[in-house]
């Protein structure tokens, strides 16, 4: 536990150095950005902004354009239309090297040279980022991802989880102002995934902007300040709790020991209950304005009606519910 805390502290220290310069401005602004490959639309009319130090989740089904968006913002490919600023620098082909100096991208496949050791891989990238003290940076990056002991191993001999960690170490080398992580926990066991989560939390705490592409909705819910759901076009942007509230009405789940004789009479006469519907033999879903304050009224009404109340709970929707709701109602999804 202490060791993990230490690693987070190291990451935080490393990441803070570069992040300070852009703390006052959005780390990313994307304005009506589109990308087409011939007739195929990769993503279209995407607009959002990400504040410095924010962990921004980018969700969407396969083929939604997430990776293409990351590549576009990372100056690997040119947008078809629209504009963006990355780490405070306008996204143009001329600014590519400057932008890439201030960001890091970890693709889903870490793409390590398998015939080189972990340290040799990092030496290459430290050189490409023009690090003045590469030895120290590499040491810190390896400590941050708990890979120091394997630094002299050939990357070809590492497990997928360890390669992912080496890829993360590489992404930390240049003190990035914005880090793009494309499925960073893909293929990792729960312990390794937890370590990656800790690293991301550490980055956020000291102001590094993290652009996190993930399929793990619980991961996005846990780590991200805001999420965007992309399905060629951007469907929704917001905080996970706000998304839930915007898409789903607030409701109470009521369970009684036996079915109510006249549920309509009970619920319609109860203050704050807008609608109700049965949800099983002796369960009911009530749409309410304020679940916390309405629950006591409902309890009293049920007791007055002679019902034995088993439970009254607020219905909670997960980010997964939000995601599925949006993707299901999206005509693009049915064409995939």
């Amino acid at each position: 536990m202490v060791e993990r805390g230490l690693r987070v502290a190291i990451v935080v220290e490393m990441a803070t150095r570069a992040a300070g310069e852009v703390i006052k401005t959005p780390a990313l602004t994307v304005d009506h950005l589109s990308k087409r490959f011939g007739e195929r639309v990769a993503f279209q009319d995407v607009s959002f902004s990400v504040a410095s130090g924010e962990v921004f989740g980018f969700l969407g089904p396969n083929g939604a354009g997430k990776t293409t968006t990351v590549r576009t913002l990372g100056t690997l490919i040119a947008p078809t239309s629209g504009s963006a600023t990355v780490a405070g620098i306008p996204l143009t082909s001329d600014n590519g090297p400057e932008i890439r100096q201030r960001i890091s991208i970890m693709p889903e496949n870490p793409g390590l040279y398998k015939r080189l050791t972990v340290i040799e891989n990092l030496e290459l990238f430290a050189g490409l980022y023009g690090q003045r003290n590469p030895g120290l940076r590499i040491k810190e990056a390896l400590e941050a991802v708990n890979l120091t002991a394997r630094g002299r191993d050939l990357c070809g001999s590492l497990s997928k989880g360890l390669r992912q960690r080496a890829g993360l170490a590489r992404a930390l080398l240049n003190d990035p102002a914005v880090t793009f992580l494309d499925e960073p926990t893909s293929g990792l066991d729960p312990v390794a995934a937890r370590e990656v989560h800790d690293l991301i939390i550490g980055l956020r705490e000291r102001g590094v902007t993290v652009f996190l592409t993930t399929h793990r909705l619980e991961e996005a819910e846990r780590l991200c300040d805001r999420v965007a759901i992309l399905n060629t076009t951007l469907r929704l942007v917001g905080r996970p709790d706000e998304l839930r509230e915007s898409l789903f009405s607030r409701s109470l789940l009521v369970e009684t020991l036996a079915p109510l004789a006249a549920p309509d009479e009970v619920f319609k006469s109860t203050e704050g209950v807008e609608t109700w519907r049965p949800d099983g033999a002796s369960s009911y879903v009530l749409t309410v304005t304020d679940p916390r304050n309405i629950a006591p009224h409902v309890t009293r009404a049920l007791v007055a009606a002679g019902a034995d109340v088993v439970s009254i709970t607020e219905s909670r929707h997960s980010l997964e519910d939000v995601y599925l709701q949006l993707i299901d109602e999206d005509p693009e999804a049915s064409r995939r």
Binding site: S49, S104, G127, R235, V237
Partner: protein
């Protein structure tokens, strides 16, 4: 951001480290010199003391041709692997996410090939010269091998022919989608300048210092032009996605932005 020799050196170092651990490259680098050493030595040693001048010229011409095939052929195979190989092993994308400029990447890769290839060619040349002086029975052969134009040609042509092969090989590698196809095409494309070398080696053109310098200059210009062409061919987008960039203006769609609590969407 300007051209950086630091980034170029980082690429060069990586290339040399990778070659050192590649069984294919180490094997090729070890076996190819032997092949290119044996044939000229046999040719030289078979010439007796009383053989005529034309036979000596032929033998020496053949020797120099073989010596110049090595630095033209080997780099073509390795250079053809350079970009498409990175794509295949998934290392190209992380490389391109750094501030590395395409010129730095291409020159780093080219130097990584040219250094061992030219070193091999010069060592071969030195070994043949030494063996000829120690063991050849025909004094004219030894004298012909030590002629100024021949030595100058070897010194100049080895890196320049390697340069040709490297740029053609890398050019093919940036457009190929398969390593084997790239290497086969790369090998074939290294042959044209060797045809000219063959004409000189076999005295179709009389070898002279002037001819060697002129041909070297032509090769140098060709190498520079090829470097420019290959740089222009190096399209990040095509290499990453397999598609060339196209510009279209698209119509806006709809998005639901949920405003942040207590701040703007930017915050």
């Amino acid at each position: 951001m300007n051209f950086s020799f630091g980034r170029l050196i980082a690429v060069l170092r990586k290339e040399l480290r990778e070659y050192r651990r590649s069984p294919f490259i180490v094997g090729t680098m070890a076996l190819l010199p032997l092949v290119f050493l044996v044939e000229p030595l046999i040719t030289i040693f078979r010439i007796g003391p009383s053989v005529g001048a034309s036979a000596v010229d032929k033998a020496v011409g053949a020797t120099f041709l073989v010596l110049l095939i090595a630095p033209a052929l080997l780099p073509a195979v390795i250079a053809a692997y350079s970009v498409v190989g990175e794509r295949e092993q998934g290392t190209l994308e992380p490389l391109l996410t750094t501030p590395l400029r395409r010129e730095e990447l291409l020159l780093g890769k080219a130097l990584g090939v040219v250094v061992p290839a030219v070193a091999m060619a010069y060592v071969l040349f030195a070994v043949i010269q030494l063996c000829a002086r120690l063991f050849a029975s025909n004094a004219e052969v030894v004298a012909a091998l030590g002629q100024g134009p021949h030595i100058l040609a070897e010194i100049l042509f080895a890196p320049l022919l390697a340069g040709w092969s490297i740029w053609v090989g890398i050019g093919i590698s940036t457009r190929a989608s398969d390593v084997r196809v790239a290497q086969q095409l790369g090998t074939l494309s290294s042959l044209p300048p060797l045809a000219v070398v063959a004409l000189v080696s076999f005295n179709v053109f009389t070898p002279s210092v002037t001819l060697a310098v002129v041909f070297a200059l032509v090769l140098l210009v060709a190498d520079v032009i090829l470097f420019r062409i290959v740089s222009a061919l190096f399209d990040r987008e095509r290499l990453i996605t397999g598609a060339r960039a196209q510009r279209h203006i698209t119509s806006p769609g709809t998005v639901r932005h949920i405003p942040r609590v207590g701040g703007s969407d930017h915050g």
